[in-house]
């Protein structure tokens, strides 16, 4: 049991960050129908900006605010100016457009900051919960877990109890009818992108701290996040959180088995593939609008 615990702790905390990213993705997908590939890239930019500001000897909190703020601003800009030109196209095209945005941001971040090894240090790294004189879990990881739980509950509350959430759910059901009923589509969409941006910034900072502070690596960490969103069928927030935790734990626990330890990083993809195949196991039928087999 002793040897499990550290792995479990790391796995759960990384999984919590994946879960948080997944939640951000799912909220955005539910409100606007777009799978946001640029999630990781925005997070990466937030982390690099934060590191840069701390490196320039400014206050720590300034870095966090700037990082999260930059991610939110870019996400808002995309949602306000670029996404509306694409709403009439199908979901795949809109997702691929965010891929273009991701490449753009990743290219600029990688060009400016490059590949040097860096570390993003958060003040909560130094302390932690002690047990038997040994460090059990650092405050950063505890914070990640706490935020994952808290922000998910906040999103659930937002979607269920607030007028904005109601409008988001209306948009998800039927965009055209919602517009006819007076829901201000652009405004609600923009809010969804802003929320996604905030999530991207926060998770970017955590990933930069826990995984690696490198623009390309952080951009492609969107893939495990998408894996956890897929587990939640792009719809259910609690299941997304569970998916993220599962992926995180599986990833780190594979380190205990020597034969498959090197395949650990493929845990996310395997979980996602299995989830996709499981969800699509029903037979072929006609889609609701009779246009294709679903």
């Amino acid at each position: 049991m002793d040897q499990f615990l550290p792995f479990l702790v790391v796995g759960v905390s990384v999984g919590a960050v994946y879960a948080l990213s997944g939640v951000g993705l799912v909220v955005l997908y539910r409100a606007s129908g777009v799978v946001n590939f640029s999630y990781g890239a925005l997070g990466g930019l937030a982390a690099m900006l934060c590191w840069q500001i701390i490196d320039l000897e400014y206050a720590d909190w300034l870095g966090w605010v700037a990082g999260i703020g930059a991610a939110t601003l870019l996400s808002w800009a995309y949602g306000r100016f670029i996404a509306p030109s694409l709403t009439h196209q199908d979901k795949v095209v809109r997702a691929m457009a965010t891929l273009g945005f991701a490449l753009l941001i990743m290219g600029i971040s990688q060009w400016y900051w490059g590949d040097e090894p860096r570390r993003l240090v958060l003040p909560t790294d130094s302390g932690g919960l002690e047990f038997d004189g040994r460090r059990l879990i650092s405050y950063t990881r505890l914070l990640a877990l706490g935020l994952a739980a808290g922000l998910t509950l906040a999103m659930l509350w937002l979607l269920a109890k607030t007028p904005l959430g109601l409008r988001m759910r209306a948009l998800q059901s039927n965009r055209v009818l919602s517009a006819l009923l007076g829901v201000r589509v652009k405004r609600v969409d923009t809010w969804a992108w802003v929320i996604a941006g905030v999530f991207a910034g926060i998770t970017g900072l955590f990933m930069g701290n826990m995984v690696r502070l490198n623009p390309i690596v952080l951009t492609f960490l969107v893939i495990p996040a998408m894996a956890s969103a897929v587990v939640g069928r792009l719809m259910s927030l609690p299941v997304t959180v569970l998916g993220g935790l599962l992926i995180g734990v599986t990833e780190t626990l594979t380190a205990l088995v020597p034969e498959i330890s090197r395949y650990g990083s493929s845990a996310a993809f395997l979980v996602a593939i299995l989830a996709i195949l499981w969800q699509q196991r029903k037979g072929i039928g006609l889609s609701r609008d009779n246009s294709h087999l679903d």
Binding site: M96, G100, L104, R262, S265
Partner: protein, 493 residues
């Protein structure tokens, strides 16, 4: 150009007619390439040809069926792995191992595609992304075979073994031709299918699966076939990449490359084989060119992301699609005349410059030829690039230019000279082609920028002069050619 009401529109060509341009163009490229390119660029363009083959499969799945497959490049890795393992383990001839690798990749492609039959396009994109990422991890762990024993075939201690090139294509130049021939075969097969039953079935499935099923077209079979064939060609390309360097690198098939390949296939144009070639060039040749000029590759990536965004917003036709729009009404007589006159001018200037000792013959010939390509094949190239930024911007720019041209023409008339209403467009085109092609050329060949610029502008001037001088003699000839081959490209999308 008023439409000729007496002549019927030519229906989309017979399969042979549609495959011909591919075979002819790539055949010419195979012939001329090794002669015109340096060793470094020859290898680069060999990789471009392999990547174009993979891009062809991406275009097949996305353009014909609307299915995003981000795993094609990973399938190329699978094909390359199998090819290497078979050659190291059983000393099979290159072609046999190549085809075996392609077959295995085809099976993998089918496995990836089977869930696609029940899946909305978005889930397929995510699934293929996960598959590509998983393959990247597996390749990272297992590595590519390099002569060892055991299933993975990796050498533990000792010298890595490279595979030999196929016996008919040992040298770099010969291998370039070999790869281009395979590319022509692959793209030709895709185009052939587009022109016959599979193409029509795919089009109907794309339009409405329910209608396809009602019409008796088996959605399952044709979708599965698309994935299988796509996997086959991707695996083939992987084996060809392996043959280029004799080995494959663990880091050679990352997810980022898969994503970039998809993005640039869309930018190049998914509905057209020319777009696929553009995609290969953008993925491999353009970064190499930028490297030569000292531009960071990451900025290129950023630009590609931007280009993908713009392409998708504007309707996904891509560069090749915009080209096809311009190309639709070009007349055969112009093409024939252009090819002949430009051939003469290029050879002429090549000889002159070589005699004067300013630059090598191959370099001058190629630069002159490229300038033609731009002027003949891409009329109004600056407008095309403007169109990249939006139809409205392009239209507004054209309006401004038309107004200015009109004023200028009237001024000329008042002076008693012959007015040219397209003067500004021509001048801008010349300037742009000159500067841009000279920049490309000075990077690719060792021709000084100023010499290249001079050469291009002289060639363009010579062409214009030839046109003006020869017009009265050539007009009847043009009319006869146009009558014989009306609107050759009207059916291109």
């Amino acid at each position: 150009m008023a439409r000729d009401k007496e002549k019927m529109d030519i229906p989309p060509g017979t399969p042979l007619r549609r495959v011909m341009p591919i075979v002819v163009t790539l055949g010419l490229a195979a012939l001329l390439g090794p002669w015109l390119l340096s060793a470094y660029w020859l290898n680069t363009f060999t990789t471009v040809a392999c990547l174009a083959l993979v891009a062809g499969t991406v275009a097949l799945l996305f353009g014909q069926l609307g299915m995003v497959s981000l795993a094609q490049f990973a399938l190329a890795g699978v094909g390359g792995w199998v090819c290497l393992r078979l050659i190291h383990g059983f000393a099979l001839p290159f072609e046999v191992a190549l085809l075996a690798g392609a077959l295995v990749a085809a099976v993998f492609g089918l496995l990836v595609g089977l869930p696609a039959l029940r899946m909305r396009g978005l889930y397929l994109a995510l699934l293929t992304l996960m598959v590509a990422a998983a393959v990247q991890v597996v390749i990272d762990v297992v590595g590519f075979p390099d002569g060892g024993t055991g299933f993975t075939g990796k050498i533990v201690a000792g010298q890595r073994v490279l595979i030999q090139r196929p016996w008919i294509a040992p040298s770099d130049a010969a291998y370039f031709r070999y790869v281009v021939l395979w590319l022509a075969l692959g793209l030709g097969l895709i185009e052939w299918q587009r022109a016959t039953m599979p193409g029509r079935a795919w089009a109907l499935i794309r339009k409405s699966e329910a209608a396809a099923t009602a019409a008796g077209v088996s959605v399952l079979h044709y979708k599965a076939w698309a994935f299988t064939f796509g996997g086959f060609l991707a695996g083939l390309s992987g084996g060809l990449i392996a043959g280029l360097n004799g080995q494959l690198d663990n880091t050679g098939f990352p997810v980022s490359q898969s994503i970039l390949l998809y993005a640039l296939t869309v930018v190049g144009g998914v509905y057209n084989w020319v777009g696929v070639i553009f995609a290969g060039l953008l993925v491999r040749a353009l970064p190499a060119l930028l490297n030569d000029h000292g531009v960071d590759g990451n900025l290129a990536n950023a630009f590609y992301g931007f280009a993908l965004l713009v392409s998708l917003i504007q309707g996904r036709k891509g560069l090749a699609g915009q080209l096809a729009d311009f190309y639709k009404f070009v007349r055969m007589s112009r093409i024939v005349e252009g090819v002949i006159s430009w051939g003469l001018i290029s050879i002429g200037f090549g000889l002159v410059f070589t005699a004067l000792g300013w630059a090598g013959f191959a370099g001058t010939f190629f630069i002159s030829l490229i300038a033609i390509l731009f002027r003949l094949v891409i009329p109004g190239v600056c407008w095309l690039l403007l169109g990249f930024f939006g139809k409205r911007l392009q239209d507004r720019a054209e309006d401004v230019e038309a107004a200015l041209s009109l004023r200028l023409a009237r001024a000329f008339e008042r002076q008693g000279w012959m007015p040219d209403h397209r003067l500004i467009k021509r001048v801008l085109n010349w300037l742009f082609i000159g500067l841009f092609v000279a920049w490309v050329a000075s990077g690719v060949f060792d021709v000084p920028y100023a010499t290249a610029l001079l050469l291009i502008w002289l060639s363009l001037a010579a062409k214009a002069g030839l046109e003006i001088a020869g017009y009265p003699y050539l007009l009847p000839l043009r009319q006869r050619i146009d009558k014989r081959f009306p609107k050759p490209f009207a059916s291109y999308r």
